[in-house]
Every structure is written in C-alpha cells, then in structure tokens.
C-alpha cells in the first residue's frame, strides 16, 4: 500500500493541477495577509474559501484521478497485490497531496507573515486541520461514487451533485425546515443536522473559535453547552474522523464485489 501511495503521491505532486492548487493557496495567503493586515479577518475569509473549495477540489480530484488512472489501475490489479491496498494507496496519495498543497500553500505566507508570534496561530492551525479533514472526507466520498459508477460522465456528475448537496442544498433544506418548524424546540434538531454534514460541522468548529461563539448562545443552551465544552470539540472531531472512516470502509466493502 505504501508503495502505491508513494507513486500516486509522486504522480500527483508533479501534476500541473497540484501546482495550480498550491499556487492558488499561496497567492490567497499572501494577498489576504499583506493586503488586509488583520490576521483574524484573514482567517475568516480563508474559512469561507476553504469550506467551499477543499470539498470541491477533493471531489473533482478524486473522481478525475479514479477515471484517468483506470487502465493503470487494471495493470496494478494484475500484480500480486491485494486490491484493497491499491485503492487505499491511491486514496491516501490523492488526499495527502491535496493536503500538502493546502498546508504548504497557506502555511508559507502565514509563516512569512510571522504567524508564530500571532495569537491567531491556534485558529489558523484549526483551519488547516479542518481543511485536511475535508480533503480526506471528500476524496473518500468521491472515490466511493467513482467506484460505484462505471460511466465516467455520470460519475463526474454524481460527484459534483454530491458536493453541491453538502455545500449548498443541505443548508437550504436545513434552513427551510428551521423556518417552517420554528414553533418547536429546534436546538437538538439543529445540533444533529449540523453534525450530519461535514461541511457544516467544519464551519461551526471554526466559527466557534471566531465570531459565532457569543452569537451561538443566542440560539439556546443546548448548542452553547455542547459546542462550548471540550467534550463537544472532541465529539465533533470524532465525527469528522467517522466521516473519513465510514466511506473508506464502504470503499473496501465495495471493492470485494467490484469487477474491473
């Protein structure tokens, strides 16, 4: 598995898109910090971008890599390796290379700016950790879709739809149900609904460290108690981990029956 990982990783790290992606984050980091001069504001803007972009890029890279390397995967499948290892290697290769682009692309400008002296270092690290989680989650989800869909165009469509669902549609349904049922107690509902979408959960985790922490109190005790505590933080991170682990398990399960 490590060998496959290594080569997938090499391959992706040399791809033009990885450079573009890396350069994008690098430019973003520099522009935000040196034009804005306000680290905490930069973190908020970055959050807005990371929460939308990392899932999208993860999704697209995931399906693209799967379909583009289909023939090569077949060659690998004929080698004496367990097929689960091949796909886990590829999966980790993509996720790691995307994560590296993210962490280096944003990390360099922040270090150049003197982040280590800034109090925002914790918020910023949280941002990178969550961005990495989103990479791993959405590459896993898109790999699942690609594995289940033979047709490349269809697979691509489903993957984009999946991203759109988590990034936009889900929140739309969420908001409409909140407004429609606003005479009922909605604390628990909104808590569960937030937890069930990795993008929403990531957003809340970052906002908790930023501007929402006081505003959240406004929405009732359940929310404040839950997210305000270490237990809440721990639980949220565990749920993010579950969002990685479950698709990976399904991937391995799917692979047992899959024909190439």
């Amino acid at each position: 598995m490590l060998k496959i990982l290594k080569y997938s990783f090499y391959d992706l790290m040399r791809s033009r898109w990885s450079y573009v992606y890396f350069a994008f984050y690098l430019a973003l980091g520099f522009v935000l910090l040196f034009l804005n001069n306000d680290v905490s504001k930069a973190v908020i803007t970055l959050m807005n971008i990371i929460i939308v972009l990392t899932p999208m890029i993860g999704t697209i890279f995931g399906v693209m890599y799967y379909y583009n390397s289909k023939e090569f995967t077949e060659l690998l499948l004929a080698q004496p390796i367990n097929r689960n290892k091949i796909f886990m290697g590829q999966y980790l290769g993509i996720s790691l290379s995307l994560t590296l682009s993210l962490v280096l692309g944003l990390g360099i400008p922040f270090i150049a700016y003197g982040l280590f002296k800034s109090s925002a270092i914790f918020d910023f690290s949280l941002l990178l950790v969550i961005g990495s989680f989103l990479n791993f989650i959405f590459v896993a989800l898109s790999y699942n879709i690609a594995l289940s869909t033979e047709n490349k165009i269809k697979g691509f469509g489903y993957a984009i739809l999946m991203w759109l669902f988590f990034a936009v549609i889900y929140d739309g349904i969420f908001l409409i149900s909140l407004v429609m049922f606003d005479q009922y107690p909605l604390d628990k509902f909104s808590l569960i609904a937030t937890m069930s979408n990795p993008i929403d959960l990531s957003r809340i985790l970052i906002l908790l460290k930023l501007d929402i922490s006081a505003l959240l109190g406004y929405t009732g005790a359940v929310f404040r108690k839950f997210f305000g505590t270490n237990l809440g933080m721990f639980l949220s991170i565990s749920i993010l981990v579950m969002w990685v682990v479950l698709p990976v398990i399904r991937m391995n399960f799917k692979l047992r029956k899959k024909d190439f």
């Binding site: 060998k3 496959i4 080569y7 997938s8 090499y10 391959d11 992706l12 790290m13 040399r14 791809s15 583009n68 390397s69 289909k70 023939e71 090569f72 077949e74 060659l75 690998l76 499948l77 004929a78 080698q79 004496p80 390796i81 367990n82 097929r83 047992r256 029956k257 899959k258 024909d259 190439f260």
Partner: protein, 235 residues
C-alpha cells in the same frame, strides 16, 4: 495448469460467461478468440481476479485463485490499453512495478530491444501511443513467470517492434511458458498460436489446434475459418 469450471458471470441482465469450462495445459500458446462481447476479456479478467465470477471455480497450478492475490506473482499481464500515470517517468514506472513484485527482472534487455533508452526519463504523459505500448510490453515481459496473458499485444506497434514482439513470444514459449493471447489479428494468431479457444455466448464453442479448426470448418484459411465460426452466431 489453468482450470475454469462452470464459470458464470452476469453484468446486470447481461450474461457474459454461462457455465464455461476450460482447461489449459502447461506450455504452449493459446489464442482466445471470439466475436465482440463473447466474454474473452471477462474470462481473462476472471483469471486475474479483476472480475469476480458469480459462480464457478478457477484454479491456477491446482489452487483456487478466488479471493487471493499472491498467485499473481506467477503470471504476467499485458493489458489492452496502455495508460499510465502521466507525471511519472518511464524509469520510475518500471521501478514501481519492480518494487511491487519480489522477483528478478530483466528490463534492461527489453529496454534495449525496443529502443526505449532515450525515453527512460520522459514523462509517460508525453509518450506516443506506440511507445507506451512498448513500455507496456517491457512491464509484461520483464519478469520470469510461468504464465503470460497478453490482451491485444499488437496494438499500435510499428512493424519492427511487432517482429521483436513475436520473437519475444517465441522465446518465452521455448522456455516452456504458458501464454494466453487475445487478438483480432488473425495472421498473428496463425503465426504464433498453437491452440485456439473459441468463445461464443459465454461458452467454449471450439477448442483445439489451428489444424483441427481448419478441419472442423472445412476451410483452409484461418481467417475465413474463424469468420465461419462467428457467422454461426449471426445465423
């Protein structure tokens, strides 16, 4: 050496292999032929563990291959379409495949044979189709394994490379290897194959030597003999 017993494979409603039985002896070159959609590729992929049969048993050297993977160390596979990670170099790719198999390899010789020395440091994404196929052939032949499975090996090769390929196949045959080939080029079959396995509707329709086939169909030309077999499907 290889035994397929009562092999069934359906893709949805489409039945591709329908109770196929086939035994292939050690040594010699078998060409697997059949019209489009007759299940040639599926059969090979079943053997390679890429397609999982609904029913039936496959044994390789008297051991079941289903749900296993280490038996693949004893076979080499040349896939139909040569498409490699575009950002790795030829050299890295060869190193990678070598890395994956704990086996001796003689890639040097093959690289020389196909004149790939100049391309070693090039990225695979920048190679022409023919060159990629040469790399593909190097990857398939560089290990010393008892079984070789070649899926459309002649794709995109120039005449000289084709000659080298044929020589290569002959050489392997002389070493006592078992070779399975699927192809649409009948002259190539005529030239290299000892046995022909003809698939129709997911079953073995004919299995025997080329001479036996010619006798069976009463046609002296292999191409027409095969055409004759296929036409029976359309009838």
């Amino acid at each position: 050496m290889i035994d397929f017993k009562n092999l069934h494979k359906r893709f949805g409603k489409l039945t591709v292999l329908d109770g196929l039985d086939l035994a292939i002896k050690k040594g010699g070159i078998s060409a697997i032929l059949g019209p489009n959609g007759s299940g040639k590729t599926t059969l090979i992929k079943c053997l390679l563990g890429m397609v999982i049969p609904n029913e039936g048993e496959i044994t390789f050297k008297d051991e079941s291959v289903l749900k296993k993977w280490d038996y693949r160390n004893d076979l080499n596979y040349l896939p139909q379409i040569a498409n490699f990670p575009p950002n790795l170099t030829v050299f890295e790719l060869i190193q990678m495949v070598k890395n994956l198999r704990p086996k001796e390899s003689n890639e040097k010789e093959l690289i020389d044979l196909f004149g790939l020395n100049d391309s070693l440091q090039k990225k695979l994404g920048n190679l022409s189709g023919g060159t990629k196929q040469k790399v593909n052939i190097v990857l398939a032949f560089m290990f010393d394994s008892e079984l070789l499975i070649l899926d459309e090996p002649t794709n995109g090769l120039d005449p000289i490379a084709l000659i080298y390929l044929k020589e290569l196949i002959q050489k392997e045959k002389e070493k006592g290897k078992t070779i399975l080939i699927t192809t649409h080029i009948m002259s190539f079959v005529d030239e290299v194959a000892d046995d022909i396995v003809f698939l129709l509707d997911g079953k073995i329709y004919f299995k025997g030597s080329i001479d036996e086939l010619k006798k069976h169909t009463n046609i002296d030309n292999l191409e027409h003999a095969i055409a004759n077999l296929i036409s029976k499907q359309y009838a």
